[in-house]
Structure formats: structure tokens, C-alpha cells
């Protein structure tokens, strides 16, 4: 049977609202069904990639939650170059196995998915 290919587009910064958290939880929940999964970080969503070491008792540490992605069998983790550059994010400090893509490729990447959820 054809495996569904799900795309998760993370566009929200991690701590301003619940959007980022909800996206990660939806991703974890979807992984249970073992679809093909692509996770795409762009716009302010790339801020989720910054490592946070301090523990805050009021909020979950989303960077810690994201660090577990390789254990969930995610097929590709992608981040948009332009979004990273506009925020001076140096990906050498990021531990996740990220692949970078150009903004012009987004259309094609999205086109490969059967269904896309944006958070």
C-alpha cells in the first residue's frame, strides 16, 4: 500500500503562543501511524532550532522536544536557507540532521507531500 507522505511546516516561533507546541505534538502523534514524514522549518519557525539549555518551569523546552525527532523515524528534516540567513542562525550549532533548501524549492518539496499541515 502507498504510504501517505505528510509534510509538517513549522512557521511559528517557539515561545510566543501554543502554535509551535501544537505542531510538534501533532507530528509526534502522526508518527505513530508510520507515514512518510517531512518536517520543514521556515520563517520564524527556524527559531525553534535554537538550542535552549536553561530549564524554564513554566514552559516546555521545545528545542529538547525537537532533539528527539531522529527517534521518531522522521524521513527528512528541512530548513529554508533564506529564513535562517534573515535571522543570523548558524546551523553548525544545531544537532539535528537538517537539510537546507532554497526558497524557490519549497513549491517542489510541498508538491511531493500528499498532505501538508502548517503550524
Amino acid at each position: 500500500m502507498h504510504k501517505k507522505h505528510l509534510g509538517f511546516v513549522f512557521r511559528s516561533s517557539p515561545y510566543a503562543g501554543l502554535n509551535a507546541r501544537e505542531g510538534i505534538e501533532a507530528l509526534f502523534a502522526s508518527a505513530v501511524f508510520d507515514p512518510k514524514l517531512s518536517v520543514i522549518f521556515r520563517d520564524d519557525g527556524v527559531f525553534q532550532l535554537l538550542n535552549v539549555n536553561t530549564n524554564n518551569e513554566h514552559t516546555k523546552n521545545t528545542s529538547k522536544m525537537l532533539a528527539s525527532l531522529p527517534l521518531y523515524g522522521i524521513d527528512e528534516l528541512l530548513a529554508e536557507k533564506e529564513s535562517l540567513a534573515a535571522r543570523k542562525i548558524d546551523i553548525s550549532s544545531i544537532k539535528l540532521p537538517l537539510k537546507l533548501f532554497d526558497r524557490s524549492e519549497f513549491h517542489r518539496i510541498a508538491g511531493n507531500c500528499d498532505h501538508i499541515l502548517s503550524f
Binding site: E25, F28, A29, A31, V32, D34, K60, N61, K64, M65, A67, S68, P70, L71, Y72, G73
Partner: protein, 106 residues
Amino acid sequence: MNNEVFETDDEGFLLNLSDWNAAIAETIAQREDIQISEAHWEIIQVIKQYYSEYDHSPAMRPLVAYIKKNLAEEKASSIYLMKLFPGSPAKLAAKIAGLPRPENCL
């Protein structure tokens, strides 16, 4: 033997993570008809370690992957976990370890 008072939610998950200790783990396990053995403790330790590293309770798949990486390959299987924590291993192990309910667990 154990008169400690601790609060749980309707499903028996500990409300305050900081309340947790071995005696409480035994009590929660007994409610689930589980007698904790060395093999259980091992998994409980691993799932607690997962929680402190990744800030959430794991579903089955990441738990198995984590056990493979941090404990032993032969213990990294759902069959092994199913024997120790029958029914829903990730959920039961989290409960006994005093962690929140895995939100993505079926």
C-alpha cells in the same frame, strides 16, 4: 508499608513529578498488577532519562529507539516491553515512572 500520600489524575498518573520515589513507583505498579523487578527498574530509569533529555514522555517507537541507543539492543523491542508492561508499555512505564501521560499514545 507505604503510607505516603500522593495525588494522581483520573488515570493514575502522578500530578507532581517531584513527588516520585521508589515506594510510589511500587504503589502505582501494584495498582496495575505489576510486581516491579530489576528488568522493570531498568526501563523506568531509561524512560526517566528520556524525559529529562527530551522534555516529554515517549510513545512506543521513540522509546524502543532510545532503549536501543542507551540500554541494550535485545531489550529494544515492543515484545520485550509488552512482557514487562502489558497492554500499553509506553503509557504504563511512564505512569510508574511518575511522568505525564504520553500525549500521542493510543
